[in-house]
């Protein structure tokens, strides 16, 4: 590349231009705020300000808190939230609103209670061996420089809204990283976060003060361009939703997307020879949590073809159905019900339906696994088991999909070690055992350490002793 005399041109070539275009861009106010948009103020639906970004409070009060103060305060608030969700009235409303069964909602509430544990909250701040709270609270000496981690500031979190438990996770991350947030409620669930708002308004503290909750119809371009020029944008949704948000994002806003993900089971020969009730129940649980609408939900099974495969799948089908007695299914949308019926009918007509037609859960088998098999899935307690000659080859096929979150290995220990290195070459971010699909500990999500993503690392490189 030749140097030009025009500095702007040179900068453009090397660094994308010497003008800071986003300053003007980020100052733009929307000409039009949709009529259906609102923000919650003291339990009431209020209009967004003319400049929607101004609805967000500064995060200073939160940033001043120590981790101990923050965790203690937040733990209490999460417990109150769980308690409020559990009232008979709210259970009824949540079931009606979300389509989840009461069993599913109870499990979500237990999860929130579990996450309110102070030690567990603190552990979100651990990134490998690094305790992020030490960097958040002070400058730490590194090799030849000092380093600290500052909150990004203000941001927006676009919720997906298919699960009550999932709503609280981004709230935990933003609190621990000391950022202000505007949570956007999804159009199909404007209740779960309203309950959180009603709990928070009883608290006069920095966590409650820095949390705003609102709604606007998705795709409101001008409003979203305004809000997506905040310091950060976190978003949950399918690939097209994420792509749409990316298209409206200010070039300087930090984007933290969580797109559609799924898990894949791998069942080896030995497991099919020596399985017990507990293993089957763990598999059934993994395929049942949240009706398979969660990012860790297994949506496909790879099973080594053996003489025992038929029996194993029949037993699994029985266990899947049995588990609905403890963990009832939610409402299946009509369109998905039709898709499942069609797939079941094709399987039945082709001799591949393992479960009984009248079951609420489905287990079907298919010979082999092709790329097209991992392009479309069914949820709502649906197991599609691919009988394969080579687990390694099938693992490659599933592992080539970027949306893969984890492999769940129902295998011998020896086989697990063999497959682990092979899995490293795929897009999987987790390797777990049966029953371990839902993350029990704070772990990277979508390959990210989320609290770290919400921090800005700053270095002091001046000479020091």
């Amino acid at each position: 590349m030749e140097r030009s005399s025009d500095s702007e041109e040179v900068q453009a070539q090397y660094r994308g231009g010497c003008g800071v275009d986003s300053i003007a861009l980020d100052d733009e106010k929307p000409d039009n705020i949709p009529g259906k948009a609102y923000i919650l103020e003291d339990g009431e639906e209020a209009n967004f300000p003319e400049n929607p970004k101004k609805a967000l409070p500064e995060n200073d009060s939160l940033a001043d808190l120590s981790t101990d103060e923050l965790v203690s305060m937040f733990s209490d608030m999460l417990e109150s939230y769980a308690e409020r969700l559990r009232t008979d009235e709210n259970m009824e409303r949540l079931a009606k609103n979300s389509g989840e069964s009461k069993d599913m909602i109870k499990f979500d509430i237990q999860l929130i209670e579990h996450m309110s544990d102070e030690d567990l909250l603190r552990s979100w701040l651990h990134d490998g061996d690094t305790d992020l709270s030490e960097f958040i609270e002070d400058w730490k000496e590194a090799e030849g420089y000092y380093e600290t981690a500052a909150p990004l500031g203000k941001g927006v979190n676009i919720n997906a809204g298919h699960n009550i438990g999932a709503v609280i996770v981004p709230e935990i991350w933003r609190v621990l990283s000391r950022n202000s947030v505007l949570h956007k409620m999804p159009s199909n669930d404007q209740l779960t976060l309203k309950i959180l708002h009603n709990v928070y308004k009883e608290y006069d503290n920095p966590i409650a003060e820095t949390c705003k909750i609102g709604y606007w119809p998705g795709g409101s371009r001008e409003m979203e361009e305004n809000l997506f020029s905040l310091d950060y944008v976190m978003a949950w949704g399918d690939d097209s939703t994420i792509a749409s948000i990316r298209g409206k994002l200010s070039p300087t806003a930090r984007f933290i997307p969580f797109h559609f993900e799924f898990g894949s089971y791998i069942v080896d020969e030995e497991t099919q020879e020596s399985y017990d009730e507990e293993l089957l129940e763990n598999i059934a649980k993994d395929f049942s949590w949240g009706d398979q609408l969660l990012c860790f939900s297994p949506l496909v099974m790879i099973i080594k073809e053996t003489d025992n495969t038929e029996k194993f799948l029949e037993d699994l089908a029985d266990k899947m159905e049995e588990y609905t007695e403890n963990y009832q299914t939610g409402v299946v949308p009509e369109e998905e019900e039709m898709n499942i019926t069609r797939t079941k009918k094709i399987a039945r007509d082709s001799g591949q339906l393992i479960s009984d037609w009248s079951n609420q859960t489905t287990v079907i088998e298919k010979q082999g696994l092709e790329t097209s098999d991992v392009a479309e899935f069914h949820s709502f307690r649906f197991v599609k088991a691919h009988r394969v000659e080579s687990l390694e080859k099938a693992l490659e096929t599933v592992g080539s999909v970027r949306n893969l979150q984890e492999f769940i290995l129902a295998t011998s220990d020896e086989r697990r070690l063999e497959l682990r290195d092979k899995i490293l070459e795929t897009n999987a971010k987790r390797i777990v055992s049966p029953g371990g699909a839902p993350p029990a500990l704070p772990i990277p999500w979508d390959g990210k350490h989320p609290v770290n993503e919400l921090l800005q690392w700053v270095t002091d490189e001046r000479p020091h002793e």
Partner: protein, 352 residues
């Protein structure tokens, strides 16, 4: 294929119920050569001989989506990729295709030509917003096959015609200016063909510019395919636009309904009052299944006449794969007398 060919030789003007059953029984013998369908026939309660329309409703079906999952498992005899037909993608996944034998391809083509001839008036010129042979020849084979459905090439070759689709950096785009200029210079009755979504966009632009054209005494607008991509449009507005821009009455709008998996087309006759009410040619039959019953119980049962439900097509002229297809389209069927007043109307989609 004696009876099947006899059925086709009927043409589109008259229906013959007995001949249809004979042809269907002959076709079923062929379909049972497919292992998958043979197993389904065994497991079904379908009679060995089809003697009534009630019998037809007991025949096992093939789900349209099976063509995407395992198209090769559904074929019978010597099908060849050479004769594959690709979906246009106007209503669903453009990647889907169905394989054909040479004989099947010719029959499919013959059915379309014959029925289109019956439905359309004589025209002096046809303007086609689709890729012509010259353009398709320039494109890579795979891309060309998927570029657009093949039917316009079959059914409009009897008229003098011109194709107006160009490949630009943004994709396929009709050369509307050339078409308008040509319409103005031609005499007699002219026709314009496009997919509804394309034609909607074109008509809207022309209307905004205040452009109107005269297609002549028996001027015709022909559409086929779905509405996907035509966001913000609705049928009533579309029809009004056609009347304004092309100066045609609603009776001069001919709309085909079909898909690559079914060998017979359906459509309204030129002059029919309502383009949404489609006729069924003598070589095909459709019945309508209760959508909710199927969704809940997986059982296909007919609905009352006039009630909406899932369209099942029965297609004896197709012997390349089993021709009893369960679609995911919701339709309403009206009229009672076979071949006379029976019509059906597309209502929507059940899934996908």
């Amino acid at each position: 294929m004696g009876k099947i060919d006899s059925l086709r030789e009927l043409g589109s003007k008259e229906h013959d119920k007995e001949l249809f059953f004979e042809a269907l029984n002959q076709a079923i013998d062929q379909w049972e050569k497919n292992n998958l369908y043979s197993q389904r026939m065994e497991a079904s309660h379908a009679p060995e001989e089809i003697e009534s329309f009630e019998d037809i409703k007991k025949l096992p079906t093939v789900d349209m989506r099976e063509f995407k999952d395992h198209p090769k498992d559904l074929t019978i005899g010597n099908v060849d990729r050479e004769y594959a037909l690709f979906s246009s993608g106007t209503t669903s996944d453009s990647k889907s295709f169905t394989l054909r034998s040479e004989e099947g391809y010719d029959r499919h083509k013959g059915n379309f030509k014959d029925f289109a001839d019956f439905l359309m008036p004589d025209l002096d010129f046809m303007h086609i917003m689709g890729p012509g042979k010259k353009m398709l020849e320039k494109m890579p084979e795979k891309e060309a096959k998927r570029a657009v459905f093949t039917y316009p090439l079959w059914i409009f070759d009897k008229f003098d015609n011109e194709f107006y689709l160009e490949k630009t950096e943004e994709g396929m785009s009709p050369d509307v200016d050339s078409m308008i200029e040509n319409i103005k210079t031609k005499e007699g009755s002219q026709g314009v063909f496009s997919t509804p979504n394309n034609l909607y966009k074109v008509a809207k632009k022309l209307d905004e510019k205040g452009v109107t054209v005269d297609l002549g005494p028996e001027g015709l607008v022909v559409t086929a395919g779905g509405w996907k991509g035509a966001s913000g449009s609705n049928k009533e507005e579309f029809r009004e636009l056609l009347q304004t821009v092309f100066g045609i009455d609603i009776e001069n709008h001919l709309d085909f309904y079909g898909c690559t998996e079914i060998f017979f087309p359906t459509g309204n006759h030129y002059g029919d009052e309502n383009p949404d009410k489609k006729r069924i040619p003598p070589m095909g039959y459709i019945w309508v299944a209760d959508e909710e019953k199927f969704r809940k119980e997986g059982v296909l049962e007919p609905v009352e006449n006039g009630e909406p439900g899932l369209l099942v097509s029965v297609d004896p002229s197709n012997t390349d794969y089993p021709g009893v297809l369960l679609t995911d389209d919701i339709v309403k069927k009206t009229g009672g007398e076979y071949g006379k007043d029976v019509r059906f109307e597309y209502v929507g989609r059940s899934s996908l």
